[in-house]
């Protein structure tokens, strides 16, 4: 363990801004949700009615997990059911950032030559990441314990802490497998995606036993504010121990910098087609594009069949159907369910759009733009190759997502021909909003290249608007800033072309501004 403490300090120093920020923001979200709900529904009857309406909408359970009770804190914690997923995401990325990324960059080697035990980096990453989850859990406990039952507050905080720790260990295992950090991230995030879909399937389908397979569900088995159960914490602890042990065992068996999966050789000569910036960009973007498309297609298939199941289950229930119609779901439960999840696709794909757009900045700061721009390649030609994928990639990902939903929903209902165009249209209607984020990232890239990370901050802000905007009664003008506010609710809702065209126009204008800025500025390493 020699040197672990110094590395812990190094990580804390490097992440001194981001880490407290996400711990605090995610830590206070559950209490703000709860206060919001308590402000809107003050009597037990109103809370009960609200809970009933939520239970009647499987889309919510799909996102947040099962709703366990109808008290304000139980509803608040449930409504914050996406937070464990975000904690898990942050934990996986953070552990990889401080292990495999360091090895790939060679910085690990510099440190490794000092007095440092072999596993110090892995231990330090696990300690800081789990520690951050612990602080987050304590924040949740502290914010709830004053007003609400202490046991519930403890269960909620403990759940967040342990889920974070388990996914830190997931990240640690992923970091051992491959030589490249991006491949490790893909493995870690795929695991998270599968666990999320398993939780979704366990909640909306009959197969509740599935919930035993996803650590994301285990946290909810602690049942905060709904008759707490403590033993599922052991499940999470066991998960952490097993995964962390696996990570250490894998780490002990490999060289620094090496992965378990051996690197492969490539061709000695380039194919004739590899002769333009676009061809090179394709080599860089095809992995993420294939990954996103496959993930979105899979998610689409799962959601389509879940939508069919939900709509079958509720078809006979007159009251619920009338209520749903009142909520604006003329097309029925299935449409409402799909529309809600398609809007989540929109957010996810916006993340992909930013990622693809910022590839250009990544290339620049890694010094890989320089040899291209020192050849006969114009700046716009070079950046344009990445712009192409920032716009086309999300379109393809949404297209296959919509096709996946339409196929499985249509097959179950026997009307693929009708559903397919509707769901594809619904998915593609999210595209302009995602494009505006790509445009924002490109504008930052051209005009303020050191601040490109702001694009992620803005996406997070819009995501929070969507999650808590209504509950916190944020002013309309603020919510209108988010392009996702203007995306239509399809299928089944109304759609007008104007907002979509305006958003596409904004995206194009932002991109043009970015390219204009790029032509005038220095290439920075």
């Amino acid at each position: 363990m020699t040197g672990t403490l110094s590395l812990v300090r190094l990580i804390l120093r490097r992440d001194r801004i981001v880490l407290p920020l996400w711990v605090i923001i995610l830590g206070v979200l559950p209490i703000s949700q709860t206060s919001g709900i308590r402000g809107l529904y003050s009597t037990p009857q109103e809370l009960e009615a609200f809970a009933a309406s939520m239970r009647a909408t499987p889309a919510f359970s799909a996102l947040y997990g099962p709703l366990l009770d109808s008290t304000a804190p139980a509803l608040g914690i449930w409504r914050a059911g996406f937070i464990p997923v975000i904690i898990a995401l942050a934990s996986v990325l953070m552990v990889i950032r401080h292990t495999r990324v360091e090895e790939e960059s060679g910085r690990r080697e510099l440190l490794g030559s000092t007095v440092l035990s072999r596993n110090a980096a892995l231990s330090a990453a696990l300690i800081v990441t789990s520690g951050a989850s612990a602080v987050l859990g304590l924040t949740v406990f502290a914010t709830f314990a004053g007003t609400y039952p202490v046991a519930g507050a403890a269960a909620a905080g403990l759940g967040y802490f342990l889920v974070g720790a388990v996914f830190a260990a997931v990240g640690a295992v992923a970091a051992q497998l491959t030589e490249s950090a991006s491949a490790a991230r893909a493995i870690g995030l795929s695991a998270l995606g599968v666990f999320f879909l398993v939780r979704m399937a366990a909640t909306v389908s009959e197969a509740t036993w599935l919930s035993w397979l996803s650590p994301l569900s285990w946290g909810q088995k602690l049942r905060p504010f709904a008759g707490e159960e403590w033993w599922p914490a052991l499940l999470l602890v066991a998960g952490f121990v097993v995964l962390a042990y696996a990570a250490y065992a894998l780490s002990a068996r490999r060289d620094v910098g090496a992965g378990l999966l051996p690197p492969s050789l490539g061709p000695a000569e380039a194919a004739p087609g590899l002769s333009s910036p676009l061809a090179l960009a394709w080599r860089m973007h095809r992995g993420p594009l294939i990954g996103w498309s496959a993930g979105m297609a899979f998610a689409g298939l799962v959601i389509g069949s879940a939508a069919q199941a939900a709509s079958d289950a509720l078809a006979g229930n007159e009251t619920v159907m009338r209520m749903l119609t009142a909520m604006g779901a003329a097309g029925g439960v299935g449409d409402l369910f799909i529309a809600m999840l398609v809007s989540v696709f929109g957010l996810g794909v916006a993340g992909y759009a930013i990622q693809a757009a910022l590839k250009a900045r990544g290339e620049e700061s890694l010094g890989r733009a320089e040899p291209l721009l020192a050849a006969a390649v114009s700046r716009v030609g070079w950046a344009g190759s990445h712009v192409f994928f920032a716009f086309a990639g999300p379109a393809i990902a949404l297209l296959v997502a919509g096709a996946g939903v339409g196929l499985s929903y249509g097959l179950a209902g026997g009307d693929v021909g009708t559903q397919l165009p509707r769901t594809i249209g619904a998915a593609l209607s999210q595209l302009p909003a995602a494009w505006t984020l790509a445009g924002l990232a490109l504008a930052l890239f051209g005009l303020l290249p050191r601040l490109t990370a702001l694009a992620w901050g803005v996406l997070l802000l819009f995501l929070l608007f969507g999650q808590v905007g209504a509950v916190l009664e944020l002013p309309r003008a603020l919510l209108d800033l988010s392009p996702f506010t203007h995306s239509p609710r399809l299928p089944g809702g109304d759609v007008s072309a104007a907002p979509l065209l305006i958003m596409a126009g904004i995206a194009a204008a932002l991109t043009a501004a970015g390219l204009y800025g790029l032509r005038r500025r220095d290439i920075q390493v």
Partner: protein
Amino acid sequence: MNNVISMSGVTKTFGRTRALDGLDLQVSAGEVHGFLGPNGAGKSTTIRVLLGLLRADAGTVRMLDGDPWKDAVALHRRLAYVPGDVTLWPNLSGGEVIDLLGRLRGGLDKSRKADLIERFELDPRKKGRAYSKGNRQKVALIAALASDVELYLFDEPTSGLDPLMEAVFTDCVGELRARGRTVLLSSHILAEVEKLCDRVSIIRDGRVVETGTLAELRHLTRTTITAELIGAPNGLSGVHGLKVDGNRVTFQVDSGDLDEALRQLSASGVRSLTSQPPTLEELFMRHYTGAAR
């Protein structure tokens, strides 16, 4: 002779740091020009201005009769560049990178490429992430040397190469000179520059402090004289660092005073005499330690 590179009064600041401070640099056609300076003196900044990657704040820059900022794409067809720290795309093989860069520059000579791959002993099938620093450097060198262009810009190109590969690089530059190509070679390895370069510019704190052929530069500095005299030395004036050991004297003398010093020596009768011109290293150290104050 016309200038391939002509920079005068070029200034470039990054925030508060003044990377280039009125830099003048002339490189004429067909010469191998050494660009000497320690880390942080502004060598890479100069080359990146020439490549149109950075925009000069003030001064004029001409390269191959064009404006490097405005005519970047057209000019880049006529030059090849090797950075000092090559980063490759992790999922592209070395061979793919060589072909890609060559094609983007407007084509490369296949047989010369094969020859260079053999001489530099590169395995072109490895992926970018699997190469060591020296091998990444070789990939960029092969891509540049396999292109037949008018101007080669090398920014500390041999960093990370072993001595054998450095020798291969030296040969390659010799061949470029024989073919009449122009080379700007930035380096802090003096032996390399001394071996390869026709003319040298020394840069310090963003300014060229000395420029000329090695002979001219030597002329500006002191020659070391060691002599064994028949009689006792007397009246040696205008010399530096005089050491007398019996009839043996060692001193340095400015080129202008050499004649007078020799006259004084011969007055005492000379038994043997060695004269040592300054090495590039002495030149260099004089500019960097002497002038640092």
